[in-house]
Symmetry: D2
Subunit: 485 residues, 4 copies
């Protein structure tokens, strides 16, 4: 593994940061980035990612962050509901500490590892052993991982091999005795600039013609031919924590990830042409990852509820009928997501010895979350008031001439000082009415599978014949046996 970590040891945040200093090729707005841990924007991403490492060394969090075997709990293969609930609790806690932004640096990678482990038996050798070795390397090295799955896709009505541009999906361009050479690109690759390893997975099921596109592997981030083009979206630049309590310091980076004839050594290749397994692997990862997703959305929905409650308080509106109506909706929205998440863990099933959360419930949870977040924003904004976009700056409240007056005018009936009320407005503005809120909204709709993908999964996972059977019995179309099956 291309890291300095030693087996069985939990890395410190400093070790993690140090591990990012290699020859990786990252660009930001057309400029080479250099040391990501020192870059004015990406250092916030690195700091944020460090949370996953810091928790393991914090005595108060250690039980949650470290599994019984001494490794990071993220790498613990779940074998039961309790394992899934503990994993979910860890993800939730890390995101809560991360101020509603997921840390992801171990979450997403372990989801990919679990999906590869679940496929070991069916892939057979030499793949099974390679997967095992890679999994153990990540765990032992306590590595930071990113996953590149989504291809650019070109014309979506056509499969990979039918595209005009043969590289619209990532593909194998050369098979050598010692490995493969791949070409193409992936989009939406999260935390890649500050990961140690990149796991690459197929984005969809593949037909026989698409064999060259049925490819999965892992490479260190400084692999020759690999270029990371970071999205400029949601920069921390020029933002003060007083005014942007979330987005001034919380940062995750997505890249367009280019593979310019990248060589992957054989022991890092996990799928290379077995098109019949591509869909399985793609879906397997997504299902693990959607459970991660609904776990890490919990602090966000809690923050929306809390922000609504807090706004009602500082505005002196806790008794207003319409405010109570909106707050009860927000609570229902948040607690439904939490209940579905936990219940999906409780109703897990074992696949190849790995506990997989209930797919139907995971997708229902994800869908309910995605369909509701814009309404949640609306309700919180409604309770908060127009001050969300017309507030003065923190500097104004400290102005020697008019600051005190402004401070007093901002006081409402809720007992909060003017500055406190301004802080609350700034939080809600950041959370729902600026780039950070927009980022969360778009992620809700598209990340870890779109709304439409979730609908399809729900339909495919439901026991439709049983449902139809009951309706037929009610309609008198089945033998009138009692009770119905």
């Amino acid at each position: 593994m291309a890291t300095t970590a030693r087996e069985g040891r939990l890395r410190s945040p400093e070790e993690y940061r140090e591990s990012l200093r290699d020859g990786r090729r990252v660009f930001y707005r057309g400029e080479p980035v250099g040391d990501v841990a020192e870059h004015p924007v990406f250092r916030h991403a690195v700091e944020h990612a460090s949370l996953d490492y810091a928790m393991a060394h914090d005595p108060a969090q250690r039980d949650l962050a470290v599994a019984a075997d001494g490794y990071s709990r993220y790498f613990h293969v779940p074998r039961s509901s309790d394992d899934l609930l503990a994993r979910s609790a860890l993800i939730e806690a890390a995101t809560r500490a991360g101020k509603t932004l997921v840390v992801l640096i171990k979450e997403i990678g372990s989801d990919a590892l679990f999906s590869l482990l679940a496929l070991q038996r069916r892939l057979g050798e030499p793949y099974a052993s390679r997967i095992q070795a890679f999994y153990e390397g990540c765990r032992d090295g306590d590595l930071a991982l990113c996953v590149a799955q989504t291809d650019f896709k070109g014309d979506r009505s056509k499969g990979p091999s039918q595209q005009e541009n043969p590289d619209a999906y990532l593909r194998i361009v050369e098979r050598r005795p010692d490995g493969i050479v791949v070409r193409g690109a992936k989009v939406h690759t999260s935390v890649s600039v500050n990961a140690n390893e990149m796991i690459v997975l197929p984005t969809r099921a593949m037909a026989a013609d698409d064999a060259d596109y049925a490819v999965a592997f892992a490479v260190p981030l400084d692999t020759p031919g690999l270029t990371l083009v970071a999205s400029p979206y949601l920069s921390t630049k020029g933002k003060s924590a007083a005014e942007f309590p979330l987005s001034a310091e919380r940062k995750m980076v997505e890249t367009s990830t280019l593979f310019d004839d990248v060589f992957v050594p054989a022991e890092r290749v996990f799928l290379a042409g077995q098109h019949e397994h591509a869909g399985e692997l793609a879906r397997g990862f997504v299902e693990f990852h959607r459970f991660t997703a609904i776990s890490y959305k919990l602090p966000l929905v809690d923050a929306l509820v809390g922000a609504g409650l807090l706004a009602a308080r500082v505005n002196g509106l806790e008794r207003a009928g319409h405010v109570r109506d909106k707050l009860s909706w927000l609570i229902s929205y948040a607690e439904t997501l939490r209940a579905l998440t936990h219940h999906a863990a409780e109703r897990c099933r074992l696949i190849e010895g790995i506990a997989v959360p209930d797919t139907l419930l995971v997708n229902v949870a994800k869908l309910q979350f995605a369909l509701g977040i814009h309404t949640a924003f609306q309700y919180v904004q409604d309770v908060a008031g127009g001050l969300l976009v017309t507030y003065p700056s923190p500097e104004d409240l400290e102005h020697p001439e008019y600051g005190a007056a402004l401070e007093r005018y901002l006081e409402a009936a809720g007992g909060a000082s003017g500055s406190e009320r301004l802080r609350v407005m700034n939080l809600i503005s950041d959370l729902t009415a600026g780039e950070y809120g927009g980022y969360q909204a778009v992620l809700a709709v598209h990340a870890e599978g779109s709304i439409e993908a979730e609908k399809l999964t729900i339909l495919s996972q439901y026991d439709r014949e049983r449902g139809i059977g009951y309706a037929r019995w009610l309609a008198g179309l089945e033998n009138d046996r009692w009770p119905p099956s």
Copy 2:
């Protein structure tokens, strides 16, 4: 107890029916009803209610319907999540066999009994012993029970003792050494015409001035002074099962229940003036009963999903994009309710040794159900088509001259015969577009607490200070300790 049942024995449906032959005073459309088990409408209600008795004698259902102690599981006081899950499963199974209509004859009464048992310690003697004795009598006699809670209420902006009409809420008009005399009326009393005992509970919290209204007791249905005026809504008359597969035979009765100076013997009085406990008892019952409610809604939402799936199939529309969209919504709606119901049982807490489902989740579940049912109806109707209200009659399909032609025209691409398709249309029409659907819709909005009552409970049950604390931490208004509490 005013029944013929013997201790420790599970009554048969016949014994249940026989037990209803007493001097009860029931009116239907202004006419005295006589033997309810023989009445053209109410006999369907009696038949439907018999399901609860039949299940206990059916070998395939016995484990579900009978507790380990040999009594009906309905009377088993829940002590754990498993007890609640078993109770929920029993209620669901009975309602499923009851073709989406709750049986209720033991469900609602045991909810009331549990709320009384939970209050024993606080009420003290002589009430505690009376409650215990009454509970054991119901259990041992395997009785059918109804609960009269909702008062007519008069002017809703005023409390009981402030009403112009002093009887707008039921009250004690005389206290005698051997018991009390009550006057007033209750509305929405379900299954009263075919119950053995009526449990009467206060409808709300009472102030000190309202002491005479803080009253709870039980009386047999043939008690002098008690008059049951049955609602004519949703008659089975003139309906064939072919055309109305649900409402031709499924029937529950609600009454306006008049207490014309009814004497209640002391040993049947459970609350008589202790106004400070009225609210507790009212809420306690409602909370148990809302869990019953979300359990018995499950076959209804399953039927809506199944009906949608079946309609899509017989109409040949399973591949249509908009149909799949609506079906996935229906599945999410149903499975969210199921998951919340089960999770509320799993997250129960013990109150006086009785397992109480999580109040917040129960109310969230009830609210989500209530808010969605009209949309569910719309989607099922959308998939089913206009034939829902323009279909020919079953007699037409058998007509010697044009029946065969009609049968063939009704065939669509789904492989169902014309008659089968008609059956499906009839089911969906009954389920969503006639009196039965309307009954279920209004119950969804109002029964076991209205939509607004659920919102208030949700707001009161949520840990608001914790929510606000997280928002304050995010806003930078708390010491920046890490992680947040």
Copy 3:
């Protein structure tokens, strides 16, 4: 024409009823109906339809019901916005008098006539003259008309000529010098049992292979080979006006309409094989008819608003916050429909000299109505309360023993007597929670084009290139000319 009406004279309700006494072949639940005006159910349909005739003879309504030329305004070909507004006002007034149920007996037929007139020039002779003659005959005879358009359709994924059953769509089976012979069936034919003439139109666009299915014509209802099988849905039988203020007497009939080798004389044939005009005619009718539809929905949405307001009043809830929220929604729903309807008339365009309401707005109006009616039902039910399905009967309130007590208990804070409150509950139950409400809900979703059909029309009618042009200009993809086109 097969009627007794004389040219230029407005028929009386009696003349209309008399005109229905012919040899038409109508079945109800497998039984021949005989004189529809005397049939226990259909006589209500005939009475209801008579409203269109009565209005023309009522001095207070004459200006609305009769055009300047002395003919019924329904037959007046609209030439301007004002004509459309007057037509809309007439339809609204008739439906208002019809207690929210559309009368339809001239409305739908004139929609079909206008669509045929608009096609005269393109169809050429001999069709143009036939259409003109038929139109004048209907107008002069003041006839009652029905329209049979929707075919049973069989497998919806296939066109007419590809069906396994060649009669799944109505078709020409023989062309004779003096006319054509047609075979097949139509579904959802409204008011056919009490019309004088049936106009038959194609249901969709036809391909060249489907020429035999591209057929339009008119026949009197007593034409040999024509069989009307009436739907049993929504019978008036056994309903009192006190308990069912709408559905006890308001009735419209739909039939499955069978054509068993029906001969149509040449002068009544308006399209026979010109497949390229089938879609135009189908759409033309639907567009006129959707404007009729949104006009006749107005009294229904007004009734929902009024019912909500009235329920709030009799329940003493006019000041409750959540009630006001629901009432304001209901008002917005109703007034949006009214504004869109009127504005569609104002933005009409002339096609072949006929004023056609704005297609985009008509479809937007219809869609908004359809998407909202289930929510409207929910809100009205919410304000009305559970009494909707648990009310006593009118007979109970008059009972000598308990009637007066019940009457008093039913009084709330709104100043209404118990009987009045019961009337209001009965109205709302009929309107939203029984067969009548279900009928209206299903018609909302499916009649005059389904929700999905309206979405497609909206998409096709919108000037998409203009919309895209503006977005491209905003994105900086157009020459930065100012201002944008």
Copy 4:
């Protein structure tokens, strides 16, 4: 008037900019602003506001922008539907040219002027003459105007004179023969930093005790004692037009506006103590202004529709079922707003000779818009895809090493180049997922009256007795006269 403009002349953009160079006291982040037309952020606001002046000098726009009397059409007092439609068209055109951001610099001020003119007769002298003179001065000088209405309000459950802080609402602290002295502050004052005059209006109805708070007047922006504290929200700083096609250059400023014992000369005082007129004036302004609001929302909803259509095209998704569903919803949303806006103008009524758009419809329009915008954002984001928040920068596409590759990967099936697709993503990101979208969303919920204020107005404007009368007639509670009134 504090301007250099001459009577009857339409000022040029340059004259407008020049007129802002005075001694106004404006702060931005605690720093004095100096010349607003040169300030790095506010110069964009000035440029944007100049549109209103530029249009009058553009031959292609002159007919729209200039009334028949040669003055700016904004100052033309509407006397008819046509006047209102022309005003609406002008506001729409200016906002369209302003890339969905309202210009407002004459719109809002003329709304205030109209509401003052409508009150002339009732206020009597000397107020009537002062209002007339001020109106003419604004019109003749072609002035830029802002309106300060909303007070900070303190404890919202209390009226102005009951507040702990007597300045929570702006008030008269001294009455002098030559004028009044006012103290207090206003919040949410739009375009104040770049206006010539500020019109100050009361925010609500006032009781007799609140007489000192019943105050309306106008002052030039450089009046001593007046301090404008600009909100830092939505800065243009550091944004390129390529990446932020809207918010890089479009800018409106809101201020907290402090009145530190400001002297207002008598001839500029329009209300000073006549508390009974305060509510009327407050509501009158709001009603005119909501019509302005729904007019200027039209380019925004058009942009959302256009963005959805364009995204579907560049992503190659125009035929996807779920995409078409969302697009048809967007179109309905936009066209409903447009129809309601135009119809409100057509249904205007004359008040004191001034044409006032239909209040009910204006509020319905505003409410429908406000309730739907978050859903509109969701749908556009759904069609656009996750690239919205993960896109590369424009600089990346021009990078000599990887730019061409990236450009090609970004190509989809819609025929757009990679750069074009990126532009579209940038537009949609700016429009819905960043500060600009958040600004528009919060304005939708709160500006020109909140969602709740609109609901109250709708309820108060509807003819409730007529609605109840119809429901009573349907329920059989009115004499059965026909037809219903």
